[in-house]
Symmetry: C2
Subunit: 267 residues, 2 copies
């Protein structure tokens, strides 16, 4: 009996941005489990039965997939992006830990993928070229105070910030509060990458100054990448590129330091 469960990352949606290891598992699995719209994103031919489920039922979905595998199936649990980042891999291990005997003997593997912040970064330049933090603004699974504390710390220490789950119908005010905190530490001219549906046909990636970013222009399919004090916007062939230099003023290698941006505080 197979008894196998692979947690598989589709990447952002483009077939050529999905790992061959992931495509192989999707093609051969006997059962495909995931949030319905993610199953619809699968770009390779599949033979397995599809078990779509709603959003926000990750624990039930993980238990269902584990039960299938325990019964002898070869299961692929499908996430978009990287299943290890704010996605199904942790949900599967949470379930296993709650009831180990129920699911003993299942071979569990995780196949990574390109996560939304990486996809957004690649489309706009290299904003993640230096130290960065990845934060989910959702307070469904953690207290809002924890989110604020992390934003405050990361903004104060001049990390580039990637915000996942920035806003939703049920969480309308959190992004505005998060931006207030960041604006206490960053110049209003700091570039923010607003990336919606990267890798999909309706992809939209643009750059807004931190001081001009309005939460109403952001939706739940968007990832935000907020620059640090050194992140720069430059024109390359008439295209707006955002990147964070690898060098920081005052480094040992200071002869090669890129000139500082006028009007941004040096740290």
């Amino acid at each position: 009996m197979t008894r196998r469960l692979s947690v598989v990352g589709l990447g952002p949606g483009r077939a050529d941005w999905c790992l061959p290891a992931a495509a192989d598992r999707l093609a051969t699995a006997t059962d495909l489990v995931g949030y319905g719209p993610y199953l619809d994103l699968i770009a390779v031919p599949t033979v397995g039965r599809r078990h779509p489920s709603g959003n926000r039922v990750e624990a039930d979905r993980a238990a269902f997939a584990l039960d299938l595998a325990a019964g002898g199936a070869d299961v692929a649990v499908v996430s978009s992006g990287d299943p290890g980042i704010f996605a199904m891999a942790a949900a599967v291990f949470e379930q296993v830990e709650l009831d180990p005997p129920r699911w003993s003997g299942i071979d569990i593997e995780v196949i990574p993928g390109v996560t939304a912040a990486q996809a957004a970064a690649a489309r706009i330049g290299a904003p993640l070229g230096h130290d960065f933090c990845t934060i989910s603004l959702s307070d469904v699974l953690k207290p809002w105070e924890v989110v604020e504390r992390r934003i405050e710390a990361a903004a104060g220490a001049d990390f580039v910030l990637a915000f996942y789950n920035p806003i939703s119908r049920h969480r309308p005010w959190q992004l505005g509060r998060a931006l207030e905190i960041v604006r206490c530490h960053r110049d209003g001219a700091t570039p923010v990458v607003v990336a919606r549906q990267v890798g999909r046909p309706d992809e939209e990636v643009h750059v807004v100054e931190l001081g001009r970013l309005v939460p109403d222009d952001v939706d739940m399919r968007t990832v935000l990448v907020i620059g640090s004090s050194t992140t720069r916007t430059v024109a390359v062939n008439g295209r707006e590129v955002v990147y964070t230099p690898r060098r920081y003023a005052g480094s040992l290698d200071s002869a090669l330091v890129v000139p500082a941006v006028v009007g941004r505080p040096a740290i």
Copy 2:
């Protein structure tokens, strides 16, 4: 004339963990530019001339690649992992900004890849399942005070920490100091994922308690992932798995909170 430059991520080294978009560019480029050992990692057949260079000459390498493209070549600049994360994409844009007319008219694109922390996470479970920070411990390109300040902030706000470039012959003491800072904020039993050469034949991934991690056991080919207060080590089929639950004590969804680990401070 082509005048094209693609900054391409190989991922960690396994051919089936490299994006098809990257493999395609590697296969068709007229010229392949990169650190020698990374060019040797390319797992697809190539036709282009290879231009290997030493480590720590990223600026020269980027300028050389841009000159090739300006002369009509179809160039692939090769990084391991994701070229947008502590790698060649930022180096290329730095050069372009220094002398835009020299390299005008070149079509520059970035193709992302699975970065070391993602690969390590997938091999051991899901330690990046919640908010995390990615920090390079190298003080070649930034002052050590900036590194310390970021570690202090990220450790204090209970982020999972991914350390890149943790140690080298020329930077022998920095990791020890970094661990001192983290130990002020985290229990000694916190799991640390020590991942060396993930995705390559000599891959080694293991888990050490923070209190027992010794810098001498780490080398420059290692990435470290240090858990937050909620990161857990569990046995799954006799295999040690490390994951960070998506839930945090006190969340709205508290009925589903995984029981807290005894002996770790709740935050």
